[in-house]
């Protein structure tokens, strides 16, 4: 198995006024290709800090982080931006789509910052990604003309378009109603089955049973790291839910 994410005893300290806050106090784990990992924890457990580090938005105070074999800790801001562009797909709780911009243009965004992809290829890849998430008929809808579920699908398509080593989802179902949440979860499970590596940060314990592994953080340390051998199928649960009337 190829290790996509390899973190070794990372610590992250923040200096707030006179005090030093230890957000992460020595976290070590490896995530292999094709895993669907949920990272859980209450607020203040350090899961946001960990997500920032995994997403190369932040660097650890000490310890080493290798993303797809590349050491990240000593990289400059600009190098990390390029790394994010090529290796990571983000999905946010509040979608973060560009306002008044079509779905296809939103999905093209990461490729706009990659000069090795030409305009024609960019458009083709965006359309492929949108088709993959089931929005082939809404390519030219603007972000403000779509429902929350549709916007999150656009965001997932945007995360897929650069063919990343890992997809980082931050409370990706947090703003959605139950049924739409499960629809998105079904999509994540499908992507997992296709061999994608997914890290899903959430505080909803229910989601853990649909992933292949669950890491629980508490006070900046790993409390539990359990491999789930009995992955539930989200489509089953979705079928049980009442259909939205409105």
């Amino acid at each position: 198995m190829k290790a996509i994410i390899d973190i070794d005893n990372i610590r992250r300290d923040f200096i707030v006024g006179e005090e030093t806050v230890h957000a992460l106090r020595g976290v070590t784990f490896t995530i292999n290709e094709g895993e669907f990992v949920t990272i859980m924890g209450t607020s203040g457990s350090g899961k946001s800090t960990l997500l920032n580090i995994l997403g190369c938005l932040d660097t650890p105070t000490s310890g080493e982080y290798r993303l797809d074999g590349t050491p990240v800790r000593t990289m400059t801001k600009t190098e990390r931006a390029v790394l994010r562009n090529r290796k990571i797909g983000f999905v946010f709780q509040n979608y973060n789509l560009l306002a008044k911009t079509t779905a296809v243009e939103n999905v093209e965004l990461p490729l706009m910052y990659n000069s090795s992809v030409g305009a024609t290829e960019r458009r083709e890849r965006a359309i492929t990604a949108l088709t993959r998430v089931g929005l082939a008929d809404r390519l030219y809808h603007k972000s403000n003309q779509m429902s929350g579920g549709q916007m999150q699908r656009v965001a997932i398509a945007r995360a897929l378009v650069n063919d990343p080593a890992v997809i980082l989802a931050d409370e990706a179902t947090g703003n959605l109603d139950t049924r739409t949440s499960f629809e998105i979860l079904v999509l994540f499970q499908e992507l997992h089955r296709e061999g994608r590596t997914i890290i899903f940060v959430t505080h909803n314990p229910e989601i853990a049973q649909y992933s292949s592994r669950n890491i629980v953080l508490r006070d900046g340390k790993i409390r539990d790291d359990i491999v789930n051998h009995d992955i539930q199928d989200a489509t089953v649960k979705l079928a049980q839910l009442p259909v939205n009337d409105d």
């Binding site: 938005l57 946010f92 560009l98 910052y113 990659n114």
Partner: protein
């Protein structure tokens, strides 16, 4: 990062926020439009003031006999000196390089009589060029011509005051015979009224005759009491004075070191007044124009700055999908430049239409010069970039973690 993509990104961002882009542009539009309208109106008034002053005869040069010392060192009155002659006048006419018109000047006082009306005045013997020099116009009838001068014709052109005094019943003076010191003269023309000058002298109390007539038939003298000339433009007055000086010195066979036996005066007072008026006007306009542009620039900075805050999430998102600081900086700068240039073009059009509106509604003189348009356009673009730089830099330095979670 390739520039085409950045350009597309900036264009899309402007397009997605038409209202905000328009408001940003508005500052520049108003700035450029007011500069252009202001300069057009200002230049227009400047030109019209210059014309008005020129009409008062700012190009006029007066040559008087003078600096001549009689026996025993007593200075004589210029009128009695005999150093300026027709030969001098002819040399100036033939040799000058910077003059538009030259006229001799001889005058004689006396009584002008028509019927039972009379008026005490003086007659001035001149050539046709005198009209140009003094900015006089013949209102009715004609000016005497070259052949009248050759034949010392007994003709005269009279001013409004003379007409009022000799023809109080309103009859047409043209063709009438008036008598000056018992010499009958035919009135051939009447001058357009000029009113009083700034010294309180009546400029319509004037009788013009061919200089030959005054010299031969009235005064019986061979010398001139002065020569009037007019430089081609006001700027050339000094050159013209030097030119005339050398012509006259050669004519009078003055050796180096000898004093001039004539004196030349120009309307320095008028021209210095004109210069100070126009330079004050230019400074004033430049100040107003500068303020307008700074206000426009601050408008751009203001909205760009607010826009960075408003767009923090967007910037955070762009950074999380791999935009580097330089990409964000370039995007914001390109947006600022595009907005400034578009605003500049619209501003030029609005400013020019405003100027033409002022011209057609208020009938003020306007003058739009290419350099004012070019200048305000260039300055607005530079202002846009200059004031766009700071917010762009601020956007580029945002922390993506903070930015993406910004509410």
């Amino acid at each position: 990062m390739n520039f085409t993509n950045l350009f597309k990104i900036a264009l899309k961002a402007i397009n997605a926020n038409k209202m905000r882009s328009f408001l940003t542009m508005l500052g520049i539009i108003i700035g450029v439009a007011s500069v252009i309208a202001m300069l057009a109106i200002g230049q227009g008034s400047k030109v019209s003031i210059q014309q008005n002053i020129a009409e008062m005869g700012s190009n006029m040069i007066m040559i008087r006999p003078g600096a001549d010392q009689g026996p025993g060192g007593a200075r004589q009155s210029a009128d009695n000196m005999e150093t300026l002659t027709l030969a001098d006048y002819e040399s100036i006419v033939n040799q000058n390089k910077y003059l538009a018109a030259v006229s001799p000047n001889v005058s004689s006082g006396g009584q002008l009589i028509f019927g039972n009306n009379n008026y005490q005045t003086s007659v001035t013997g001149v050539s046709e060029g005198y009209l140009t020099i003094r900015q006089l116009k013949v209102e009715s009838g004609v000016m005497f011509d070259e052949s009248d001068i050759k034949t010392s014709a007994k003709v005269c052109v009279i001013g409004k005051t003379i007409v009022d005094n000799l023809f109080p019943d309103g009859s047409d003076p043209i063709g009438q015979i008036v008598r000056f010191n018992k010499i009958p003269m035919k009135v051939v023309g009447v001058l357009k009224s000029k009113g009083y000058n700034s010294m309180g002298m009546d400029q319509d109390d004037i009788v013009l005759m061919p200089y030959t007539t005054v010299m031969k038939r009235i005064l019986a003298q061979t010398y001139l009491s002065g020569i009037y000339a007019s430089a081609v433009t006001e700027d050339m007055t000094d050159l013209a004075i030097d030119d005339i000086t050398s012509i006259l010195r050669a004519n009078h066979r003055l050796r180096e070191g000898e004093e001039d036996d004539f004196s030349i005066r120009s309307q320095e007072e008028l021209s210095s007044m004109m210069n100070s008026t126009t330079s004050m006007m230019t400074t004033l306009l430049a100040c107003i124009a500068g303020i307008s542009l700074i206000v426009g620039g601050i408008g751009i900075m203001n909205i760009m700055y607010v826009s960075v805050t408003e767009r923090t999430r967007e910037i955070g998102l762009r950074m999380s999908v791999g935009a580097r600081g330089i990409d964000i900086l370039s995007q914001f700068l390109i947006e600022a430049i595009l907005i400034s240039i578009t605003g500049g073009i619209i501003g030029v059009l609005v400013g020019m239409s405003a100027a033409f509106a002022v011209k057609s509604v208020l009938h003020w003189p306007i003058s739009i010069e290419a350099w004012t348009v070019a200048l305000s356009f260039i300055v607005c673009t530079i202002t846009g970039v200059f004031f766009g730089w700071y917010p762009a830099k601020k956007a580029a330095n945002l922390d993506p973690i903070e930015a993406i979670r910004y509410e």
